[in-house]
């Protein structure tokens, strides 16, 4: 029972981080970045490749920096050049980036999964009040909490965070006040890359391997989270992601042998939420035109 609750919390936290990464970029530029999954994948590749030889801490540092750099590269190389384009063009461009990176990973790393134990101790168990629980779920919950609180602090308490909030609700007006569009968008991409690296760390320790499509599944589900949470609201994205993740985990636990129906039930619930609150759980007012 305790393990079920911890699993739900850790899965929720994990999807919350993924959804927040997507929500950050959507907030400032109304771009649904499908290539977020490929950020998670590069984080996992970097971990699997570097950790066995350089150790865990160095590997994590390389993965975080590398993923953030790739996120910034996407913005500078592709999205920055499409500033005056409409949302549909941006959406298709992000699909393009996503597929391009998947094929690129295939060329560089091969189509078959690469395996490595990144943090095998996370799969061990510890004893809490007579029940044994996996270390991984505890570590994931702590990691998610630290990152969510850290992001909240950054968004709520720093000047750059204030500018990101302003740009998310009305980019034109924010620019009129002097908010530098490129700087704010660049920052959103960098932070979404950092969050993607954290997601990569958790997932790769669970799976023990990485392939070119590593990040696709979690990105689609996290995207569902940002939608039911309320597109354009950062709290909504994190909350929606959390709900999706914990619901998947709980459904898996309760359905037992019928867990093939987990996603059926998940999407039935998603449809109900969207019928009741079409704008998402945390409806946002910021639907004005972007840059």
């Amino acid at each position: 029972m305790i393990q079920t609750i911890l699993d739900a919390l850790s899965f929720g936290g994990l999807y919350g981080l993924a959804a927040l990464g997507i929500g950050l970029v959507f907030g400032v530029m109304r771009l649904v970045n499908f290539a977020h999954g490929e950020l998670i994948a590069i984080g996992a590749y970097l971990l699997v490749i570097t950790v066995p030889s350089l150790g865990l801490l160095a590997g994590i540092a390389i993965a975080v920096v590398g993923t953030a750099l790739l996120a910034l590269l996407m913005e500078l190389g592709v999205f920055k050049r499409l500033r005056s384009a409409g949302p549909a063009v941006l959406l298709v461009a992000s699909f393009g980036v996503s597929v391009f990176l998947q094929r690129l990973y295939e060329v560089i790393f091969g189509a078959l999964p690469i395996s490595a134990q990144v943090a095998p101790w996370m799969n061990g168990v510890i004893d809490i009040g007579g029940t044994t629980v996996t270390r991984g779920s505890i570590v994931t919950i702590i990691l998610a909490m630290v990152l969510l609180v850290g992001m909240w602090f950054f968004i709520d308490r720093t000047t750059l965070g204030l500018q990101i909030r302003a740009a998310s609700s009305d980019f034109q007006t924010a620019r009129l006040l002097g908010v530098r569009s490129n700087r704010v968008i660049g920052a959103a991409f960098v932070f979404s890359g950092i969050l993607a690296a954290a997601v990569a760390f958790v997932v790769v320790t669970q799976r023990g391997s990485v392939d070119p499509l590593f990040g696709v599944n979690i990105t689609i589900l996290a995207l569902v989270g940002t939608v039911i949470g309320g597109l354009g609201s950062l709290q909504g994205a994190a909350l929606g992601g959390f709900l999706v993740g914990s619901t998947i985990s709980l459904l898996n636990a309760f359905l037992g042998n019928y867990r093939v129906y987990t996603y059926t039930w998940l999407f039935i619930l998603v449809i109900i939420v969207l019928i009741v609150r079409p704008g998402g759980i945390v409806a946002s007012r910021g639907t004005k035109e972007r840059v």
């Binding site: 500018q163 909030r165 302003a166 609700s169 009305d170 009129l176 006040l177 002097g178 530098r180």
Partner: protein
């Protein structure tokens, strides 16, 4: 020396121009009005000067420096602030956060806290509601917040787009009453208004716009001359430009 000067300005959205012939000169500390019917290109004119609407041709000089084609976030740093129509405050953010965002566009590094104090002296109601969500303020208070937020960057020119929109008459008097005090501090103001009398009585000059052109320049003495006003607004039948 002329502070702000636009000549032969064309601007619009996408491939469609809305402003065909924007002209204005503003001296330091001056208040210039722009009036005209709906769709005359008034907001587009202001937007083109602030950089939020793309200018397709023409020249804009601020303090002798060309600003045409520059980004809005750069133009505000050169000393031109626009308060857009409909106030455009960040309703989810607090009053204080809205004001602090205004500091982003400051040219000067020092004096930020003094600038914040100056505007809250000008609009004391903002101090009372400092920590409230800006969306909870009344319409008049939101307009005051939008003007205050533009002023904390200490602009040389303040552009106001229909500050009276949606406000009760008594509240309009409050908002317009402050404009004189802003002028006294040396800031030039350009006000776009639907209510022609209101702006003409306080402006040194008032431009009348129609169909994307500046058609006439009126002085305060004709503010209540309905005939002259109607003529400038609707034309005399012949095109006088």
């Amino acid at each position: 020396m002329t502070l702000l000067k636009a000549t032969d300005l064309k601007a619009g959205y996408g491939k469609v121009d809305v402003l065909f012939n924007g002209h204005i000169t503003v001296e330091p500390g001056e208040l210039v009005g722009i009036v005209g019917p709906n769709g005359a290109g008034k907001s587009t004119f202001l937007g083109a000067m602030a950089g939020s609407v793309r200018a397709t041709s023409g020249a804009i000089e601020l303090d002798g420096q060309s600003i045409v084609g520059r980004k809005p976030e750069d133009i505000v740093r050169l000393g031109l602030s626009l308060v857009p129509e409909g106030r455009a405050i960040f309703s989810d953010l607090s009053v204080d956060e809205n004001l602090r965002l205004g500091l982003t566009g400051r040219r000067l590094k020092d004096g930020a806290s003094a600038a914040l104090k100056d505007v809250t002296d000008l609009f004391p109601v903002l101090t009372t509601h400092r920590d409230h969500q800006a969306g909870m303020l009344s319409g008049g208070q939101q307009q005051q917040l939008a003007i205050a937020r533009a002023l904390v960057s200490e602009p040389k020119v303040l552009l106001l787009d229909e500050p009276s929109l949606g406000l009760a008459p008594s509240v309009i008097q409050d908002v317009f009453g402050v404009l004189g005090r802003i002028q006294e501090s040396g800031t030039a103001i350009v006000v776009v208004e639907q209510r022609a009398h209101l702006v003409m009585s306080i402006a040194a000059r008032t431009l009348v716009m129609r169909e994307g052109h500046v058609r006439a320049t009126l002085t305060p003495d004709v503010a209540w001359d309905e005939e002259k006003l109607a003529e400038a607004y609707f034309g005399t039948g012949e095109d006088e430009s």
